[in-house]
């Protein structure tokens, strides 16, 4: 039993035989050519074939492993169209009278060398792309149709490095794990492993003689074991079974109600950042959307999104949720997170600056466009609105007056809209302290624990130096949440949590005992939190 330690890209355990992949690199033979023009034509034909292959690979990757992994082939195709790359190849054929295979290999190595010396880690990673794409051309030129070896049975794939064109051809259901010497957390192999949810280790000096041997990968600790002892295999098999059982238990929670053991119902909602997240919300069975961050509409565009563009997005989500509640948070943007066309000035202190509702109340045309779009979409589903960064009762009054204006305009234009609950985010200590007053003005509270913690503890979350001081369970924050819930209930409105603490199962019971009515969490956390809710007994 030999053990090797590497860097884990994705957790999980794999047990199986190793399938060793030879390095794809194979030296091209150099020979002198007679007719440079003819050789360049041969190169051009090969290039056309290679472009076609890349286009097919991109489609295959897109269908099987997603857009991020597919993009690599698009980049390869662009490299094959690059003037500098082509000129370098032509030049070698013309002036050195070498064959196309050799010219391509030299040029690929030259660019790979150039990129491998760059400062940026991402750019260094591109060096292997030049080698891969050049190798593809050499293969086409040498008429080598052997596209690479297939995996015969489920296996752990080991190689010093894997080219994307190799991994995309592997049969996905036979892949147990990856082990490579090279590669990074951003490499295509890593992306593939994450998308497929299989373990992957990098930084291990892979040996050819491992081929066919039994191995175990412990992706939680980054350990590879070759020819493991029986006891160890047994232990890891049990761990693996636990993982599977846990996943199954969580999956079993699908369709189950969000109620505690003693029968107290809890609203378990999901947070989303764009329209595409909806499928995850539905798969993971959320009772509603507790936080729909509308920023993506603004950040992804090159102009202020029009009423029509926003309306379409909100309507799509409202209809997809089919009557379940969708809480849209109005624009929450600031100097640290903005789109260029906003033209916000750089600020010393963006977290305490011109942001969120402050922008909306100052530049009311932006705000009104969003409100009109939300109200129009409310005719197609169960929509609620909440406003971020509130610090005073006057702000809420001002907002409600603008909302009334918008509704009046819509009525005059004979445009339909539905009942829209009005809520505010509680994410400043100020809002906590006057939550009794605020509760009289709105229909619900949603506590944004990330900002509330940062503002309460006076700690910048982006500053890694302060990690030791940043206590997410700080009693000040927990007491604030309790106060907010109490004040909400006293005024007869409901209160929820949409920050990261909402999915912190160490606090779920505490929150439920306080009477928190709603928890809004990332779609992937829904089952874990549901499990915790169903196991909690508030009578004890």
């Amino acid at each position: 039993m030999e053990q090797y330690c590497g860097k884990s890209i994705y957790g999980g355990i794999a047990i199986g035989t190793i399938s060793y992949f030879e390095d794809v690199k194979r030296k091209a033979v150099r020979y002198e050519i007679q007719d440079a023009k003819q050789e360049i034509e041969r190169f051009e034909r090969a290039r056309e074939t290679a472009m076609k292959q890349l286009c097919d690979l991109q489609k295959k990757a897109l269908a099987e492993v997603g857009e991020e992994a597919a993009m690599i082939f698009e980049v390869h195709a662009m490299m094959l169209e690059d003037d500098d790359y082509l000129e370098a190849v032509y030049e070698r054929i013309h002036h050195n009278n070498v064959n196309a295979e050799y010219a391509v290999e030299m040029v690929g190595e030259m660019f790979a060398q150039m990129f491998s010396m760059m400062e940026d880690e991402y750019m260094r990673g591109r060096a292997s792309d030049f080698l891969d794409v050049s190798h593809r051309l050499v293969t086409v030129l040498s008429d080598n149709t052997n596209a690479g070896k297939a995996i015969q049975q489920p296996a752990i794939v080991a190689a010093s490095d894997l080219a994307p064109s190799q991994t995309v051809q592997m049969e996905k259901d036979k892949l147990l794990a990856f082990v490579t010497k090279y590669g990074s957390t951003n490499s295509h192999t890593a992306i593939l492993a994450r998308t497929m949810g299989i373990p992957a280790l990098i930084g291990i000096d892979v040996k050819a003689e491992w081929n066919g041997k039994l191995a175990v990968i412990d992706g939680y600790h980054g350990i590879l074991t070759i020819e493991p002892e029986e006891d160890y295999v047994k232990e890891m098999q049990e761990k693996q079974q636990d993982d599977i059982a846990r996943a199954a238990v969580l999956q079993n929670l699908k369709g189950k109600a969000d109620v505690t053991k003693d029968g107290t119902p809890v609203k378990l909602y999901a947070n989303i950042g764009n329209v595409e997240d909806i499928s995850q919300v539905l798969d993971n069975d959320a009772a509603g959307i507790g936080l729909f961050r509308s920023e993506f509409l603004y950040l992804a565009a090159d102009h202020f999104p029009t009423e029509e563009e926003q309306f379409e997005a909100y309507k799509t989500v409202a209809e997809a949720m089919n009557g379940k509640k969708v809480i849209i948070r109005t624009l929450d943007i600031g100097a640290d997170k903005q789109a260029g066309y906003f033209g916000l000035e750089k600020e010393e202190n963006p977290a305490l600056g011109y942001r969120a509702i402050r922008i909306c109340l100052t530049q009311q045309d932006i705000f009104k466009t969003q409100l009109r779009a939300i109200y129009r979409a409310s005719a197609y589903g169960n929509i609620a609105i909440m406003y971020p960064m509130i610090i005073s009762v006057e702000e809420v009054e001002q907002i409600r007056a603008i909302v009334e204006e918008v509704k009046k305009e819509l009525r005059e234009e004979n445009i339909a809209y539905g009942e829209v609950e009005q809520g505010i985010m509680i994410e400043t200590p100020a809002a906590v302290m006057i939550s009794d007053e605020l509760a009289k003005k709105v229909d619900f509270f949603s506590i944004g624990t990330n900002d509330l913690t940062q503002y309460t503890l006076a700690i910048d979350r982006q500053n890694a130096k302060l990690d030791d001081f940043y206590n997410t369970h700080h009693p000040a924050v927990v007491k604030m949440i309790e106060m907010v819930v109490k004040n909400a209930h006293a005024a007869g409105i409901w209160a929820g949590i949409c920050g990261e603490l909402g999915s912190d199962t160490a606090l779920t019971e505490t929150f439920l005992r306080m009477g928190v009515d709603e928890l809004s969490v990332a779609p992937t956390s829904l089952f874990t939190v549901r499990d915790k809710i169903r196991k909690t007994d508030l009578t004890k």
Binding site: M71, V75, D82, D83, D84, M118, Y122, M123, D302, Y341
Partner: protein, 85 residues
Amino acid sequence: MKEFQYIIQDKLGIHARPAGLLVKLAKGYTSKITISKGDQLADVTKLIALMGLGIKMNDKITVSAEGEDEAQTITALQDFFVTYL
């Protein structure tokens, strides 16, 4: 000649994808477009040279266009940078 300066906002800088899109955009205009970072300069129709500048987040760059359609070119480039980078 028209030009503008820009500070890259994108986390990854001018990585492969935006570089590719830039090349495509540049090929749609007749003006000669260059990007410079410090004393390094690259022709925007050349993907590898462009990636070779290794432009990262917070880098200050100058984009310039020279030719008959330089006015439209520079507007299109400004839009592009604000949207993607």
